[in-house]
Amino acid sequence: MNIVVCVKYVPDATADRRFEDDNTVDRAGVDGLLSELDEYAVEQALQIKEKLGDAGGDVEITVLSVGPDEATDAIRKALQMGADKGVHVVDDAVAGSDAPATSLVLAEAVKKIGAWDLVVCGMASTDGSMGVVPAMLSERLGVPGVTLGSEIDLDGDTVKIRRDGDTATQTVEGTLPLVLSVTDQSGEARYPSFKGIMAAKKKPMETWSLADLGVDADLVGLSAAWTVVEGTEARPPRTQGEVVTDEDGSGATALVEFLASKKFI
């Protein structure tokens, strides 16, 4: 069985994220990493591999990322966690791509990887956080999209997930090949072990350009985007108000006074 995990290299959420002059996300000036929400996708792929492996099955996990040179860091981390090989699509023309273009490149890369059974994505990237690429990939690849799984179960060629909606908890099923996306409720992602870190150094990583995928450069990138950002503005930082220290109930009294003064009581 062949699993492709899509991982994105994103600016660190705990760093000072910002925009470039052309309103694209500053991906050079801010430290980047493997999107934390994609670690859950890697984890679920590894769990499937382990489960099938115990039963004598053979599973290969390919990590796929479309992104700048530094995106190899994200792929490397997934290899350290235990994935088998990496594919990095990097091309200057890709910079500034919107979700439809990104999904186009990812879909072509998945096809080029070849005989695949399962594509696993995170629920959303932590920078753009649109949560649309998995559905777009399913649309483009013409296979079922079983998305936002908080519990994943693979039984033969049926993938069954639990999906926690606002008004109901659903069970959703699809048959391989399919695109799966998993939430951060699906189970803690493992840390790379020392052994994993050493082993990752020898794992294969391929680098593909748009030409390798046969994707026309005019279809991707900032100038081909189907949306345009016209302006970005930093929200003024909040200013800290009064902070009191509770002593023998004084905190509760002050809190109630504050709420009353603001007419919440």
Binding site: A13, S129, P134, G142, T147, T169, W226, E230, Q240, E242
Partner: protein, 316 residues
């Protein structure tokens, strides 16, 4: 005037408030046409300005995930050449929008918190990004603007719509009927206000130590909704539906009270646009205090019950 398609969201046949917000926004861009997949009480659609109501029989597709709905909308886009398609932001709305964008070769904007018409009538959106630290103005430049809008992005305003009902016979391919919903278990209502619509939200984190009773009692004294940090959800103390933050709900109430929550960036992402922020935390260094209009450094286990009693007394 062009039509603006609004995908109707309903629970138990009742149109939700975010749908009425979408109809209100749609009127800024053209003439709202509500799209009902399944059956709902269409009264409110007309009352909130729908000129047309397209109804699509869902007998054949309701057991499937979003793909059939995207096909229905794509056929309606083809038929009506609308000025825009508006959908509720949420797992389902965003995925339908994603598929529709690919099918129709259209630009997609998700999680808008405001939509206005530019001088030339085209839709301009406002989004809140990077954990609420930036606002972004954007526009669709290709195809039909497909926009998902967050709850509470507009105040629903009534307007008489003709509400002309028209049955739309969509053809759904077998390929769209592949991800199947095999079971659905409705969640029990808490009896408290809905988290994304509440004027006051009282949230608890790891600092509650697992006992949400004090947080709930305090919330009830204020008539508030209850929310939680991911740490509280991960610990199994409260359901994921109550999580606030990057991977939970975004709330923007008049008042947000964080109890035993440190204020991590991912939590802030879901609450930092609240009008007034209050925190109770025993660590004076907790980053949540950087955001507060009022803070109490203290143990929530003593502060909350005392405050609850005091509020109940005052309300008498």
């Amino acid at each position: 005037m062009s039509e603006v398609l609004v995908l109707v969201d309903a629970v138990d046949g009742k149109v939700t408030k975010p749908t009425l917000e979408l109809l209100t926004i749609a009127r800024r861009l053209g003439e709202p046409s509500a799209v009902v997949i399944g059956s709902v009480d269409a009264g409110p659609l007309k009352e909130y300005g729908a000129a047309k109501v397209y109804t699509v029989d869902d007998a054949d597709i309701k057991d499937y995930l979003v793909a059939p709905k995207a096909e229905v909308l794509a056929q309606l886009v083809e038929k009506t050449s609308p000025a825009a398609v508006l959908l509720p932001s949420g797992g389902e709305g965003k995925e339908i929008a994603a598929r529709l964008a690919v099918k129709t070769g259209s630009g997609l904007i998700t999680d808008a918190v405001d939509v206005t018409a530019a001088d030339d009538g085209t839709a301009t959106t406002t989004q809140s990004v990077f954990a609420g630290n930036f606002t972004v103005q954007a526009k669709v430049t290709k195809g039909t603007p497909i926009i998902t809008v967050k709850p509470n992005s507009a105040t629903p305003e009534k307007a008489d719509g003709a509400g002309t009902e028209e049955e739309f016979a969509a053809t759904v391919s077998d390929a769209a009927k592949t991800a199947r919903i095999t079971a659905s278990e409705p969640r029990k209502a808490s009896g408290r206000p809905d988290l994304s619509e509440a004027a006051i939200v009282v949230a608890g984190g790891r600092g509650t130590g697992g006992d949400f009773a004090q947080v709930e009692a305090f919330a009830d004294s204020l008539g508030a909704a209850v929310g939680a940090s991911r740490a509280a959800v991960d610990s199994g103390w409260i359901a994921h539906a109550f999580q606030i933050g990057q991977t939970g709900k975004t709330v923007s109430p008049q008042l947000y009270v964080a109890n035993g929550i440190s204020g991590a960036i991912q939590h802030r992402a879901g609450m930092q646009t609240s009008k007034t922020i209050v925190a109770v935390n025993k660590d004076e260094e907790a980053p949540i205090f950087e955001l507060v209009d009022f803070g109490v450094v203290g143990d929530l286990k003593t502060v909350l019950p005392t405050a609850t009693d005091e509020i109940t007394k005052r309300k008498g």
